[in-house]
């Protein structure tokens, strides 16, 4: 995997940091938000924030699709998993997300058949191999993962696999981005746009950010050099007085996105009128449900789900953290009542959540600086 080495090249990183320092020194302090869990994770995993000048702050937005699932929807998944004869398949980081009183991991310990898969196709393959099981795939993710759920449903319909259904919690990126931009008291100078969501939707959907909200947005990849270059491009725009959508992640993101993936989404999903986001409340047109043509594979129709709204625990400040209004360590219960082992909120459970990333990787962070060579 040569490209991994190239995009983690220390020399390239040093050069980018040198340029960042130079531009930052000539500007006021800047706050950039990233709206992608993968970016949050990568920034902390590589210790990037500590390398940036102190005048640049990276704020973490609602880019973790696990983090934004409200507790009531987790309870729905637990109810389905606990139904006689059901095998619930999900991605690993869904297991410990707390619902109202329990989690999928606890349900599994009490006898529910919950299995980790790496792809919805694995869940479908399981259903075909074992006709006695009633397999439900818990679908989570932004437009990044929704196309593979769509492709799986198309295969399920084509092959008439009756013992398979999908419980969809897919969400879309633009509405929460807009919700953040609409929040009063917003104090952000620019956005690092999501990487892999953009491979599907392209960069055009973000045009509204510079056009209506006068903030630059740069879609960036996930390697350290990608992220640093993304930050540099934002600083350069602010320096030049430009305000536009730019694409740092050209090797996989195009302006128009993936026509194939977008068609898959259109074939299978419909946009729900509204959907509850943990911490952000109800947002219109922000989530995907199965279209009527796939009613036979819709777990929400097949099973009786409680569908209750569960209020977040009083101590939980995930909502503020997700909006970037609060930094993880400013949450009252961060690191004490709420830790990766005993998470109160989803920001701490998912490995891409801001709190988990900060707790696991960044809580000890001497602001070590690469000496800038005076060339």
């Amino acid at each position: 995997m040569k490209f991994v080495d190239e995009f983690r090249n220390p020399e390239a990183a040093r050069e980018l940091l040198r340029q960042i320092e130079a531009l930052a020194a000539a500007q006021p302090a800047r706050k950039f938000m990233e709206v992608c869990g993968g970016h949050t994770h990568a920034i902390y995993r590589h210790g990037i924030e500590a390398l940036l000048p102190e005048s640049i702050e990276l704020v973490h937005g609602p880019g973790c699709p696990v983090c934004v699932i409200p507790m009531g929807r987790i309870d729905d998944a637990i109810a389905v998993a606990s139904t006689e004869g059901v095998t619930l398949c999900c991605f690993g980081d869904m297991l410990r997300v707390p619902g109202g009183t329990s989690s999928l991991l606890e349900a599994k310990a009490h006898g529910a058949d919950v299995r980790v898969v790496y792809s919805p196709l694995d869940a479908l393959a399981l259903a075909e191999r074992e006709p006695a099981l009633n397999v439900v795939f818990l679908a989570v993710g932004f437009e990044t993962t929704a196309p593979s759920t769509a492709a799986t449903l198309l295969q399920a319909r084509e092959r008439n696999v009756a013992n398979f259904s999908v419980l969809s919690n897919h969400v879309t990126i633009v509405p929460p981005l807009k919700a953040i931009l609409d929040s009063p008291g917003l104090d952000l100078d620019g956005f690092l746009g999501p990487g892999h969501v953009s491979t599907v939707i392209g960069t055009r959907p973000y045009e509204f950010v510079p056009q209506h909200y006068q903030r630059p947005l740069v879609t960036a990849g996930f390697e350290p050099v990608d992220i640093l270059q993304g930050v540099l491009m934002l600083l350069q725009q602010l320096h030049d007085g430009r305000c536009e959508v730019e694409n740092q992640y050209k090797r996989v993101v195009s302006e128009s996105g993936s026509a194939v993936a977008l068609q898959l989404l259109r074939d299978v999903f419909v946009v729900r009128p509204h959907f509850e986001w943990r911490g952000l409340g109800f947002i219109a047109q922000s989530a995907l449900g199965l279209s009527p043509g796939f009613a036979d594979w819709d777990a929400e129709l097949r099973f009786d789900v409680p569908g209750l709204r569960v209020a977040d625990p009083k101590a939980c400040q995930c909502g503020e953290v997700l909006k970037g209004a609060l930094r993880p360590w400013e949450c009252k219960v961060f690191g004490t009542a709420c830790t990766p082992e005993t998470p109160i909120g989803t920001c701490m459970v998912s490995s891409e959540g801001a709190c988990a990333a900060y707790y696991n990787y960044g809580r000890y962070s001497p602001r070590s600086r690469i000496p800038v060579r005076a060339d």
């Binding site: 210790g47 082992e341 960044g362």
Partner: protein, 363 residues
């Protein structure tokens, strides 16, 4: 009234039966049944026909309830035990039988002890194929023979179908260490060098690939190997070695966290120095795993005084089990109790104790 002819016939029949009973035991069953665990004839035939023939050695052949081992004068006993529940039971580079021998020997070896013998306890599920049991027993025997550490006693139990997953092994190892040799975390000091004996993450990834859940293929083999020879060489060259540990479940990260926790000191690791095979890097990238947390079965982490680090590395590299040994970090009094990794361009992140289980039933 019995005639002489009757008595002769009776004696002939008794003699035939007696001769038959003296024959080498043969197990005709092809699956394990509850009878094999009952302690009676079926158990006996399982032991005689499958288990004992693999392990013959003077101590085991005495067939006592326990083994008696001799210790050199002045040496102290070192004992360690581990259960092995890995699935699948066979994977590139080895099997549950290899792990059962090497894993326990390595725990003994990391105390600086010379292994003397192993016990082997088997828990079998009703319905387990005898053919597979023969293979596992053969693997254990071969692994033990190849390092000259005999299996000196053991036990076999059978549980109902569903009460176990196939076959679980437990081995206990007994070893001895000379008085005065005291590898202990309390000897570790700030400034000490942290070394690893070779590439990390191989075993966990090999087992994961062998599970076949993923449509990934990689040329990764488990690194399972007994390390007592490597340890002996290391301690002979660097008697001032502070501490050794074999990083199994939870990987090098967990081992370093245990050290940081028990010493109250910090550890700095250099990400650029970590030896990781390219296919392991690739598999971990794809699966979102950190090689630092992935299990190893043939590696050790050593802490030595800083001025002896080069010699320790050179000594390990001269041994077949340590050819890729390298220094990966330093003990520090910064950030007490925490393990911190420095990335190649100067960023840092914490490497905390593992939460949850990235790869269950890995050993």
């Amino acid at each position: 009234m019995a005639t002489d002819e009757d008595l002769d016939r009776r004696d002939a029949v008794l003699a035939r039966i007696e001769e038959w009973r003296q024959r080498a035991p043969v197990l005709r069953d092809d699956t394990i049944t509850m009878a094999h665990g009952a302690g009676g004839k079926a158990s006996q035939s399982l032991i005689e026909a499958v288990i004992r023939p693999a392990f013959t050695n003077p101590e085991l052949d005495r067939l006592g309830d326990a083994a008696v081992l001799d210790l050199p004068a002045g040496h102290r006993v070192v004992v360690s035990t581990d259960a092995f529940v890995v699935t699948p039971r066979r994977f590139p580079g080895g099997s549950i039988g290899d792990l059962a021998v090497n894993g326990t020997i390595n725990d003994i070896a990391c105390m600086g002890a010379r292994p003397l013998g192993l016990t082997l306890s088997l828990v079998l599920e009703e319905g387990f194929p005898v053919a597979e049991l023969r293979e596992i027993v053969a693997d254990v025997a071969e692994a033990a023979d190849s390092v000259g550490v005999p299996v000196v006693t053991g036990d076999t139990k059978v549980v109902e179908r569903g009460a176990a997953d196939g076959c679980y092994l437990t081995t206990t190892g007994i070893g001895h260490v000379p008085a005065g040799l005291d590898l202990d975390a309390r000897h570790v000091q700030p400034g000490d060098a942290v070394l690893v004996s070779g590439s990390i993450g191989d075993h966990g990834i090999a087992v994961m690939m062998a599970r076949g859940d993923l449509a990934l293929a990689a040329e990764v083999r488990s690194d399972t190997v007994a390390l007592h020879g490597l340890v002996a060489d290391l301690l002979a060259a660097v008697p001032k070695t502070r501490w050794l540990r074999d990083p199994t479940r939870g990987g090098v990260a967990s081992t370093c966290n245990e050290l940081a926790g028990s010493t109250g000191l910090g550890i700095n690791l250099m990400e650029g120095e970590l030896p990781i095979l390219r296919p392991v890097v690739g598999a971990c990238e794809m699966l979102g795993l950190d090689p630092l947390y992935i299990a190893n079965e043939g590696k050790l982490v050593a802490v030595v005084p800083p001025d002896l680090a080069d010699e320790a590395v050179a000594t390990m590299r001269a041994h077949p089990a340590g050819t890729k040994a390298v220094r990966i970090g330093t003990v520090t009094d910064d950030h007490p109790g925490l393990v911190v990794v420095e990335t190649p361009f100067g960023g840092t992140r914490i490497v905390d104790m593992l939460v949850g289980d990235p790869l269950p039933r890995i050993c």
